[in-house]
Symmetry: C2
Subunit: 357 residues, 2 copies
DNA sequence: ATTGACAACGAAAACGTTTGCGTGTTAACA
DNA sequence: TGTTAACACGCAAACGTTTTCGTTGTCAAT
């Protein structure tokens, strides 16, 4: 077992100083041709690679970005990660992942853990519990310590930072309008509780589309489901809830669901109740995941382009990190940077399959 | 913006030495009660947290483990990651993720990148290209540098390290036997090319089950598909291939597919060709993902327990890391460690749904 | 008064880099 | 021959810790 070779060892072996080795390897012209060759050859032979940790300590930057998400076994989030990873790698960064598991405390712990030097910046999506408690001090503190944050999808106005979001509202409006334009008049909404910002926006979109089409929204056509029902343990409960909902609203001719699970479940229930899709009932979901593609009939859905979100977020973060490098010491002009926090909106796309006419 | 406070700053501010601060914060009894209190209070007030990078450099260990997988937008892999993350966190480790995207060179690059000090050990699943080329030198080299590796799922005999695998063979045997016991006699196998070890094992399991039941395998009942068909762009091609297969084998009464995509596609095709499931044709897949749960009918499937795999892998790795800590300098006894590489087998489980009788 | 013990603290090395500055050698020039 | 400039290289600081080994100062015992 041969441990990794260090500058010091090379120096000792070749009887030169550490500085000489360092310079020779970075092709400094301060070093004589001969010694440089010798050192480079030796280093190559022993496969010398500088130690990242030492570099991080010296440069006070780690070239790694921290991702903090509520859940990883989730098509949307993993897609975003992929996007982040692509541009991170491309631009010479690594990614380190923390999972909040939708819990406030785990979010805080993870964040503090990583903020102590391990990462240069965060890309994150806020946990539900945090949204519920509306406690954002940990975000503000890390930003205050000079660690930039980019939020995506589940963002919040209270924290000033770069953000990447999806046009949930417009996407929902378009989806519902699509239903309306194909003849639906009693469109049901299956949504979550309000505290998740995106759920709220999608609900708004639903209402707005109805309004713009002079259709009166009915409370009875809106089903707000508890999140716990989305867990795989409770699929049957979810199905029962939706079935009950359908039974008490037998005029439903269209369904807009804020996620694909609700949508496919609605389709299941509809067919069970002998409705034909899309003839009797049309269905549109949100998030273009695996389920949408493979459901039968294929689910028309609002695609969020998770990968693009991730890519944009990574660019935003790295841009800011490298900008800080340059303007480094001009502390007085910090406000220049602070002013231009961007919020990038990634457009959704209505992917039409066979659950709509 | 107040940057993170360091020992040095505290020392300066309180007019003591750095060592005193360090000791006071670690509650060393070498420090007088009074100064200790003072320092601790000051540190708490300024929210002092030791810098991880500096600690890593000093301790020559990073307390982070590197995960290297082919793809992250993939139910199985993300489940494994979750498992890893759970125990990693629990045992005080972070995880950093690299994606090979099934490419050999990206696997090598990523590995070298992380091996230069960023991580203490790897948990990985080999990329297809690497399996195809059978070039494992990068694994061997990192192990040789003293960085332990734990492989999962896609493992390989050529590399000596801890491994966590699934009983692909037994799982497949049981699945096929289930089909046989419920009356199937012409069981088709839908599989991938041989070079992916798990595909190979599952194929073996299929053959073994037939043999043990005195059923003669027919080449015409085996469909080997190119991997590229699993990409979402080529779903239609996949479907056509399988349809063609069904048409030229009209006696098929059972299907065993080595992944859930093939399985659900087979179900789709079967229904399109007016077969009833499970009456006319029974179907079993591998990997209990989202598709299996939500397919109609529900797909009977061999569950791999990805989370358990991840948990086991993490335990294996961390155990080894911390063992190395203790036995640290007894280099002569290194062989003791080397001898006991474990291969943990996680049992699969046949989850019966409605695609079988 | 001398010794010893003990308490309370500081200096410095070490982890592996990079880099500003100093220094010795050589050769060219006046 | 003396001055100087270019060249080739070494020293040491710095990044933020922990820890070993001193170094003081105090006090009790001899």
């Amino acid at each position: 077992m041969k441990r990794k070779v260090t500058l010091k060892q090379i120096a000792k072996e070749l009887d030169v100083s550490i500085s000489t080795v360092s310079r020779a390897l970075s092709n400094s012209k301060e070093i004589g041709e001969e010694t440089r060759q010798k050192i480079q050859a030796f280093a190559k032979f022993y496969n010398y690679k500088p130690n990242n940790i030492a570099l991080s300590l010296k440069n006070r930057k780690t070239k790694t970005i921290g991702i903090l998400i509520p859940e990883i076994v989730h098509h949307f989030f993993s897609t975003v990660i992929r996007g982040i990873e692509v541009v991170a790698n491309q631009r010479g960064y690594n990614v380190i992942i923390g999972l909040s598991n939708e819990s406030f405390s785990k979010e805080v712990i993870n964040m503090e853990m990583l903020a102590n030097g391990s990462i240069d910046g965060f890309i994150l999506s806020i946990s539900k519990e945090t949204l519920l408690q509306q406690d954002y001090h940990h975000f503000k503190e890390t930003i205050n310590q000079g660690i930039p944050i980019v939020m995506f999808d589940r963002v919040v106005n209270e924290v000033e930072c770069d953000k990447v979001i999806v046009d949930d509202l417009i996407g929902s409006v378009n989806a519902v309008k699509k239903l309306i334009s194909t003849g639906c008049r009693n469109i049901a909404l299956i949504t979550t509780m309000d505290y998740v910002s995106v759920g709220k926006l999608r609900t708004q979109g639903y209402l707005q589309a109805l309004e713009e089409s002079k259709i009166h929204p009915k409370a009875s056509l809106i089903l707000k489901l508890d999140d716990s029902l989305a867990l795989e343990e409770h699929l049957d409960v979810l199905e029962k809830e939706i079935e009950q909902f359908f039974k008490s609203n037998n005029k439903i001719d269209g369904v807009f669901a804020v996620n694909e699970l609700y949508a496919v479940t609605a389709m299941k229930v509809a067919r069970k109740l002998d409705f034909n899709i899309p003839e009797d009932i049309q269905v549109i979901g949100f998030t273009d995941g695996v389920l949408s593609k493979h459901a039968r009939p294929g689910l028309t859905t609002v695609s969020q382009h998770g990968q693009k979100i991730g890519e944009q977020a990574a660019h935003l973060l790295i841009d800011r990190l490298e900008l800080e490098d340059d303007e480094g010491e001009i502390d007085d002009f910090d406000f220049v940077k602070d002013m231009k926090f961007k919020t990038v909106v990634i457009e959704t796309e209505l992917i039409e399959r066979n659950s709509t006419k």
